[in-house]
Symmetry: D2
Subunit: 342 residues, 4 copies
């Protein structure tokens, strides 16, 4: 059976990545592509790399007949999904790739995003989309909130350690190296090639990055007590990928064992042999996440490194994985594309 999907916000990078993935997905069909400001254009004019595909023209959201749509991917700027999802027919399943439904607490949403949530009842309904940890809920969900890309990367490294009581909860430092597609396709001076090509630079340091809302929510829930990590993303001259270096206090061998146990049957999470750390370029273009653990010369300290493709496993690949579950399809369907290297 083929399911009709709509991609709302198809002109952004995560929208294009959804199209790319779905193009070879045996059970999904792109039935509608919306992009308000580019409505009327062909997708091939917006993304020439998709020129070989037979795709519907870009349209406005209003032009979509949602009665024909089984599932909608909302790849919209933060804040725009709330009212939209609220007003969709309830027959349409939704995977939201933005931040609107990640935080369950309206107050926390307001704190991190600076605006009141307009659909707080949906905040409660939405299931957090970190597939490997919310799989059963996602299967039965109508609305799934895709995670932040940084949030996914770090959680894959740390959730089993926090759950297992293996690390000091007050001393978790996560230093991230981020490919630039995380900033999307919107034009900003600091995202020009010339500004970034030979530059590495942190941003939102000191506890200002919004993905901290997700970390606080998830890690505190697992630990049963407040957990606040230090988290610093750094822009690096690459288009795709996040590599998180997580410095923790705990026994490195026990940490590695816990990660291996947690992920041994997971199709998309690869735990490297003890002592090896992954490279960001080895997951690009795929739905895989590679994790490694290295012990330090200082006893009781470990480095846990996690890497994934922000546009894929960190966003659009995760979204398709969740959609597969929501539609009763095999979880891995259409997602076994290998990383592209070099």
């Amino acid at each position: 059976m083929t399911y009709n999907v709509a991609i709302l916000g198809a002109s952004g990078y995560t929208g294009a990545e959804l199209v790319r993935i779905i193009a070879t997905h045996p059970s999904l069909r792109v039935a509608a592509l919306s992009a308000d400001r580019k409505a009327g254009m062909e997708m091939s004019d917006v993304y020439p790399h998709l020129r070989h595909l037979d795709l519907p023209q870009l349209c406005t959201i209003e032009e979509i007949d949602f009665e024909q749509i089984d599932l909608a991917f909302a790849a919209l700027p933060h804040g725009l999904s709330q009212a939209l999802v609220r007003d969709l027919p309830k027959t349409v399943k939704v995977v939201d790739l933005g931040a609107d439904f990640r935080l369950r607490d309206p107050k926390k949403y307001e704190f991190w995003y600076g605006a009141e949530h307009v659909a707080p009842e949906l905040q409660k309904e939405a299931v957090y989309g970190l597939t490997e940890f919310y799989r059963d809920d996602i299967k039965n969900a109508r609305l799934v909130a895709g995670t932040g890309c940084n949030a996914a990367t770090v959680q894959f490294a740390l959730r089993p350690l926090i759950a297992g009581g293996l690390i000091d909860l007050d001393d978790i430092i996560c230093d991230l190296k981020n490919g630039l597609s995380g900033a999307g396709r919107s034009v900003k001076e600091n995202m020009l090639f010339t500004e970034r090509a030979t530059n590495v630079e942190g941003y939102a340091q000191g506890g200002k990055h919004r993905h901290l809302g997700e970390f606080d929510q998830e890690f505190s829930a697992i630990a049963g007590r407040p957990v606040e990590i230090m988290f610093t993303p750094h822009l690096v001259p690459a288009s795709r990928g996040i590599l998180a270096s997580c410095y923790v206090k705990g026994d490195a061998a026990a940490i590695h064992a816990a990660l291996e146990a947690q992920y041994k049957d997971e199709p998309f999470i690869v735990v490297l042999p003890f002592g090896k750390a992954p490279g960001m370029g080895h997951v690009a273009g795929s739905n895989f996440c590679h994790i490694g653990v290295v012990g330090d010369r200082k006893t009781g300290r470990a480095l846990v490194v996690s890497t994934l493709d922000n546009l894929n496993k960190g966003s659009s690949g995760q979204a398709v994985q969740n959609a597969n579950l929501m539609l009763g399809l095999p979880e891995t369907e259409g997602l076994m594309l290998s990383p592209v290297f070099p």
Copy 2:
């Protein structure tokens, strides 16, 4: 039905790309991977991006039981395929990705490669692997000689123009921009990141590049008279892709029409609307080739631009496309992966 394939020379980039493509190919199965100097290693240690796959260990060619192999891909350094292919059981079909069987004339081989050919009878048997132009011969071939990556890029642009008598045969200038994976994974000072990251530099200028042997052979055969083009590749700071800017004398509109007519039913060749030229980044990771034509302010001059991924359509993707034909499979099977952008 599933066919067993062997990849000989799996430790190079084209070998790894073959593994990547075949991993999601429904009818091919990697049954053996050879890499003489790395025999005994796991492919995941040589190429961490393939770590999620269940692959045979790297072995020597001698260790392969070719009775179990339906088709072998030979991704070996130039010169090593000749004796090897000669000595394989005749039941094994072969796609050679190297240069050993591209030239049909032993003298031309010796001129361009500086050594006598050791299997001249196979030179005659081998079919030139430019699928879109040798399709019928490839279907019945036991040995197919994959084209040079530059040779493929330029031929897609020029063959229909030469065949159609649309351009001046004495004034063809092809200026190429080449991603660095074309040099393979062998370690050379001039291929270090630091040497190339901010550098653009031509090489083998003036008529010294070996792919000229292919151009001369093919273009002269089509034209029925000697044709020699000017051809200059330039290294650019990118890993994948070739973009060929071909300057020709002829009517731009007629040229565009001829290309559209030639490729209108081809699944992998995309001709852009008249006046548009393609970008190299829009075919990376895929088996697609994009071609565009722009007329010049000088009457009777045109620019024909062709671009493809040297590791894929220029080598390993082409090889799988040919293998599909040789095995009686649908030509596009396993090859419809979209380009990865950004």
Copy 3:
């Protein structure tokens, strides 16, 4: 003696490059920096790499007391220099880095720039700023029009060949590879890191690029007859540099000899040994231009390759070289900085 200079349009890349060069120039002093939209800001906030310098605050042009200024560099968007320069006190020498005074013929200006020139009398007065060929006029000029960066690169390769009657004037093809700083710091979607990092793509093909106005003017004047070249720039993933591959019909050895003779005493033009072609990365950050000549296997064809840093020798370095002449300083003063590699 120290001369006070003003940099008008200091917030663009050529403005910043002027500041960088002048910072170690023994006879020039940055007395004023204008940037209308950023007036009131510190240069170090706009360009952190200049934070170590003691510079005047950015101001509006109106705030500059031109009585204190010996020479002004106008690094403004095209079109803004005309009225500005017209209204400056005649005691101020001007080097314009934009396009406003490059073309001497008002009709040609209107053709290429789509607007009537508002100061045609200055068009006549302005000296074309290709130092190595207009040195004597520049020494006595009040207004010098800096060349286009592409225009400089190609002219260094071709002027002596046209002047010497060494090449066929009807068959000149110039294929350029362009670093992205040529597009300036203005924010455009197609200049994002993600759009360009793995992409090579031509633009303004077919005779649409405005620098053709300069080529036509200069080459026709040298030849004494109309000369129109084919000229195609290509964006490559690098920040600085232009590499021009010029395909000409003529005797390669004679061409090389002519270039060597022309430039043997030039401090900034380096002609490589015959048969060698330069790399773009080997002139970055400097005022040097490297030129090489390679003969082709086709008799009577040659490739002339010229490369320079578009922000430096192609713009701000050239501007300082001209300013040195206009102020009676040694031509090379402050400009002998070596290229930065790797």
Copy 4:
């Protein structure tokens, strides 16, 4: 007065950077360039970006007449300087850019470098070359041991904090992002453009990097007790630069104040306003180091970010700065070149 210098190991990147810097240094003259395996070649063939300079031919060390040399820069692979420096005439001052004399304790040297030191008496004599902290000793030294490039970057951030008792000495985590020229010009598979262009990857994690020997020596000496930091370098796709993100426990404002006080008169160390962190691209090609401090939402935690150009301030620039002091020249002479951006 002009001093004659020899550069031993001129074919490596730090050797070439020394030549670049000295080319515009008013008081130093390159009198000899050695490169054993490339002896007899011209520097311009090894480094085309230096083609405009009039340099001595590359020679063997034995061919140098050290009686004519005032100061030698030894830019040799680790291990090769010891015997060499021991056997030089004592009239020659030496700045060693390698690791041979950085550690004062022969046992520590043996531990980190895996071989007995052959000139332990020189280990004692050598002055550690972190100019800003060993200035007086350097002025009177005959032999100065240039610091590791990572070691310099991190020490500029942390020395004043350790000296001031401002941070917890048991919880210092330094996560570094490293440009690839730090690996030198030696050919290794993992330094190919294709391996690194879209990749970020740590190395020598867990306390294995040799620069830890310097950190341990210096930080323990300042603190008067053993100090061991966690230190992880990561390769990023850039040629030049190191950006160190140092996570410490202490009061951010006090930390910033201490850094400002320490460096307020230093010509090459720039402390950014509180709350701002520097970018690696803004120091490239220069002898400057930028430092910033950001406080965290978690009270008592701070991020101190330090960045410099590994080839310049981290190696060859530092070497010239030390040479200036050793020769009685102004410390900043020849070193005020601004960073190159973009």
